[in-house]
Amino acid sequence: MRHETFAIGCAAGFGGDRTDSAAPIVETLVARGGAGALIFEMLAERTLALAQLDRRKNPDGGYAPLLESMARPVLRRCLEHGIPIVSNFGAANPRAAARRIWQIAQEQGVSQARIAIVEGDDLSDARGRELLRPHLSPAELDREMISANVYLGAAAIAYALRAGAQVVVTGRVADPSLAVGPAMARFGWSETDWDTLGRVTMAGRLLECGAQVTGGYFADPGFKDAPDLHAVGFPIAEVAVDGSFTITKADATGGAVNARTVKEQLLYELHDSAAYLTPDVVADISEAEVIEVEENRVAVTGVRGHPRPETLKATVCFAGGWLGEGEISYAGPNAEARARLAAEIVRRRVGDALRLRFDLIGSLSVFGDDRGAALSDLPVSDARDVRLRVAGVHADRAQVERLLGEVTALYTCGPAGGGGIRTTITPRLSSVSCFVPRELVPATFTFLE
């Protein structure tokens, strides 16, 4: 059976992704036969801090809010067909997430689900803080730490699967490792088979953002299109015994897998193309090639791997004060001039109590910089529909509320014809990354009793 490939489907690329993407993947895996696994990637860099805040409020909370919506539609089918589910949806509380999945399995009539929990990433306890101490500045040590997690690798996932796990729940692991783990378990690779791990890491990289490799985040009408995005199919990597792979997608879905979609995702969030660092390997795509094998099937060749780093990346999240945002619209003749006047009024009312930013949505917003250099260089345009956005941050919530009060007062005290005011205030998080020796942060797995 050595010539057989192992299919890994990815049904979520972030914590807020579509929840109906897994079923087409699972049906495709079942129809194509052979071995496979299903992964969900649900933790962006700071999602874990939000989960940690949830857990403080509720000791049984702190896992991905969409866990149930993602897992319920496919759990029983995966268990019945021997398709392991691997996901970081455990977030700040993998054990509670595992219990929830066990309950869902019970409700669906599966009484013997083998659910494993991977731990070791959470450094927010006393021992973890001690470990991080040398890597944080005195100012950082003084701040309120919300979460601290190290990015674990694929090995603990692979061990759990080899021990018979049908579901593996993790907290923070490197995103590609969610795919590397099941492939390692299937093919029995050593942890030092660098080229093989480099290849499969790139397969994981292409999977981990879900539809971003199958036509999502891609369409530019008239220049590059992808069909039926309302029903975009999520990706499946077919991995061979040497880690080489092709990217496909779920059958009977929209979107596209072609050289363009794959290249964009291969380079997404990449720095040095010769050194993509993960806990498992340093992957090198500087000589990689992308080959369209057939419609919606692309092979990536020429990927290499180098020995993994001696350190693991940790991300520490702190409370970051409050963000206030207020918006008001101006339309018709002289709209932009009125919006600019509104900005000036708010600026003079608030003074330098807060760091402020102004946007003229409809003229210049997201391309602009916080200092306002781009906006001040921009002549007043004849834009007919302009929405002023004011944003400010402060450690003291009252200061931010005062700013938003000034935006609200533009109704009666501002320029003519303003309407549609909305204001929001949100807590902010800020994070720092550091690197800790890997031997100090071992990953472990246990089965849910």
């Binding site: 964009e264 997404y268 990354s433």
Partner: protein, 129 residues
């Protein structure tokens, strides 16, 4: 304008995607056609890209060329106003910035017009008149 040269936005020649890690942005530029890639290597340089984003004051701009993909990857450090941690931008990740880079104007020999998509070819025709 030199005779025999057309000026076209990079958007007609290449596609790309922006990503972020902290305060560092990366933007890929991928040639639509293999024949165009040498021109992109020559014209879409670190200096040109630094100029596009000068108002954001990146501290370092690096280009990684991937000839086998007909692509390049630009890495721009410290240009996202602190990124998701600190930026007040609606788009604190800088995800929209790929399309700012794609506005860069590229000077191309007019023979290239035949290789462009229909819209670009039409515009090139207008420029020649």
């Amino acid at each position: 304008m030199k005779p025999g040269v057309i000026h076209i936005p990079l958007h007609r020649l290449a596609h790309g995607r922006a990503g972020d890690k902290g305060d560092t942005a990366n933007i890929s530029v991928i040639a639509y056609r293999e024949e165009i890639f040498p021109l992109l290597l020559e014209q879409v340089t670190e200096e040109k890209v630094r100029e596009v984003f000068r108002y954001r004051k990146p501290t370092r701009v690096r280009r990684y060329a991937l000839p086998k993909l007909c692509a390049m990857n630009f890495v721009l450090e410290n240009m996202l106003d602190g990124g998701v941690n600190d930026s007040l931008n609606l788009d604190s990740h800088g995800k929209t910035l790929a399309f700012l880079l794609l506005e860069l104007e590229v000077a191309a020999p007019k023979e290239l017009a035949a290789l462009l998509d229909p819209i670009a070819a039409r515009e090139a025709e207008c420029l020649r008149r």
